[in-house]
């Protein structure tokens, strides 16, 4: 039976996604490797994996790629699992290539799907910022493989009511850190970063008055997205510059872009990259936004926006 190791970054969606990915590859014995886990988290992992190897937490209690590598590498080298899985997250990126190099495994990065195809491992991933997809194939490798998974790409499946074995492990005695954590910084609570948002609700001149922004703001909240805007809205100082999308504002690359009262000027759309799924609500059927959007709704935003919010909230509950 194939051995699949996963390296646990968090005990929420991430762990579930890793489990789902491991299961998507057919019959396998799965081992979760984790540095520092509370009792209940260990139990939760035991329901997802056949074995849970728990190393002591790092010195500062946070994810520390160098320390984790020192812990798990001997296991990878001694047990030679077929595949090692990590999330393609910021933390995963800090660790995965190091492990790949040191365990001599080909690394399939940022995979949307995985498929065992003997004698090798195939995957689909995106290139060119999501504009293109690539089907790649890792050749036969006696050292096994390593893959990082696009967060959110593997649907979280219901936990198997399994009873994995819990195994305590120790950190290597000769571990000599070459990097030390000095401080963890919490981002300024007030600052928004629309460039990283997956869902953006953009508002344009069609909003007419500053007071009307509220309905769009609460639609964005309902959708779990950020509020963005066009230049005129910033010019009127209704919203801060950090929310402006366009050639003179920020370049964004969301997955969903809901444009409300946005005419779709050349300058504005110049800031929307990565071909998001674009929905436009506008009163003017001739608004250029409809040429670019995937879905268009012609109508009065003051009626449509609250209605949509209501339906989203209903849907989510």
């Amino acid at each position: 039976m194939r051995e699949i190791f996963v390296i646990i970054e968090d005990f929420g969606d991430g762990a579930w996604e890793l489990a789902a990915a491991a299961r998507s590859l057919g019959e396998a014995r799965t081992t979760a490797l984790v540095c520092g886990a509370a009792e209940e988290n260990q139990q939760a992992l035991a329901k997802l994996f056949d074995r849970v190897v728990v190393f002591p937490a790092s010195a500062d209690g946070n994810w520390d790629a160098e320390y984790i590598a020192a812990c798990v590498l001997p296991r990878l080298l001694s047990e030679q699992p077929y595949l090692v899985l990590l999330l393609h997250s910021n933390n995963g990126l800090d660790l995965a290539p190091l492990l790949a190099a040191k365990s001599n495994r080909p690394m399939l990065a940022d995979c949307l799907s995985l498929e065992v195809r003997e004698p090798g491992l195939a995957a689909v991933r995106t290139t060119f910022g999501g504009k293109v997809r690539a089907r790649i194939f890792a050749k036969e490798s006696s050292a096994g493989y390593l893959a990082t998974l696009r967060p959110g790409a593997f649907t979280t499946s219901a936990p198997v009511e399994g009873a994995g074995i819990l195994e305590g492990a120790t950190a290597p005695a000769d571990y000599q850190p070459r990097r030390r954590c000095l401080q963890t910084l919490t981002p300024d609570a007030g600052a928004v970063d629309i460039t990283q948002a997956a869902i953006l609700v953009a508002v344009g001149r069609g909003i007419e008055e500053q007071e009307n922004l509220e309905i769009v703001q609460s639609l964005a909240e309902a959708l779990g997205g950020e509020l963005a805007c066009t230049r005129p809205v910033v010019d009127k100082k209704w919203l801060e510059k950090s929310r402006q999308v366009g050639t003179s504002g920020l370049t964004v690359k969301p997955k969903i872009y809901l444009a409300v009262g946005v005419s779709g000027s050349f300058q504005h759309l110049g800031g929307v990259k990565g071909k998001p799924y674009m929905i436009a609500i506008n009163q003017d059927p001739a608004a250029p936004i409809f040429a670019t959007a995937d879905v268009g709704i012609i109508g009065d935003l003051f009626e449509l926006v609250p209605l949509l919010e209501e339906k989203i909230r209903a849907h989510k509950s």
Binding site: E9, D94, P106, T126, F128, R135, F137, L185, Y277, V295
Partner: protein, 262 residues
């Protein structure tokens, strides 16, 4: 301080209608323009700023074809002192592993204080070459740096971690740092600036110079092959919803759900 910065020339696909060519393994490149990878541009700026503060030299390295020399010239114009072009027909279609081993071969035996990479490339987007080189050279790695200073034999690096947090770390030098965009404000490179460095000598190292001794290097070293490129499914023009407000919003909820918005 001896700083090395590894950079890549990538296609700018903005405003271009992307098409896969007949082989299914490459894109139609006629409309592409080419430039330094955005992340690498920040890495070069970081390297040059550190040199300006602490002295030393900055060497820019790329692995790529003949035309890729362009980004080395650009790096020289930004203030790098020298450049190294790892180019050999045998490197064509090198995968990340092969690129990392070429770079490791090029760097081996050099006195390195700091080795900088862009965190990710705009084309392949694998984000792994820097980390692979760190692993191959057994150097400490910090990924996605948003701030970087050097203090004696240590670097102080702020980098992006989980949940929008950033962590500040102290790293022993030599180290590999991969650089996130926004770490600095890269200087502009004027057309004249490029022309001024046109005559600078850029050594070209191939299989032999790098001691890699394999004529079909990439095909032997590559661990991952490309099987197919394809475009993700996408719509054309706006589908205009019809019906009452109520009906339109119901359809929209449906569409949002299908497209990952809910």
């Amino acid at each position: 301080m001896e700083i090395y910065v590894c950079i890549k020339r990538v296609a700018d696909t903005s405003e271009v209608e992307i098409e896969v060519d007949r082989s299914g393994l490459a894109l139609e490149e006629a409309d592409f323009s080419w430039d330094i990878n955005e992340w690498d541009n920040f890495a070069v700026e970081a390297a040059v700023q550190l040199k300006e503060q602490h002295g030393g030299t900055v060497t820019a390295i790329t692995v790529g074809g003949e035309d890729d020399e362009e980004v080395l010239r650009r790096a020289l114009a930004m203030g790098c002192d020298q450049a190294l072009h790892c180019y050999d027909p045998a490197f064509e279609k090198a995968d990340a592993w092969a690129i990392a081993t070429i770079l490791a071969a090029a760097l081996k035996g050099r006195a390195i204080d700091l080795l900088l990479f862009g965190a990710v490339s705009a084309d392949e987007g694998r984000g792994q070459v820097g980390g692979l080189v760190a692993g191959l050279l057994d150097l400490p790695l910090v990924s996605l740096a948003t701030a970087l200073t050097v203090d004696g034999a240590k670097a102080i690096v702020q980098h992006e971690v989980e949940n929008g947090l950033e962590r500040v770390r102290e790293v022993d030098l030599p180290a590999v740092i991969t650089v996130q965009t926004g770490i600095n404000e890269p200087r502009y490179v004027s057309v004249r600036g490029i022309r001024k460095v046109a005559a600078m000598d850029i050594p070209v190292h191939g299989v032999a110079e790098l001691g890699l001794a394999a004529e079909n290097y990439a095909s032997q070293t590559n661990r991952i092959t490309l099987e197919e490129l394809f475009l993700p499914p996408q719509g054309v023009g706006a589908q205009i919803l019809e019906g009452s407000n109520e009906e339109m919003m119901n359809q929209l909820i449906q569409l949002l759900q299908e497209n990952g918005g809910l």
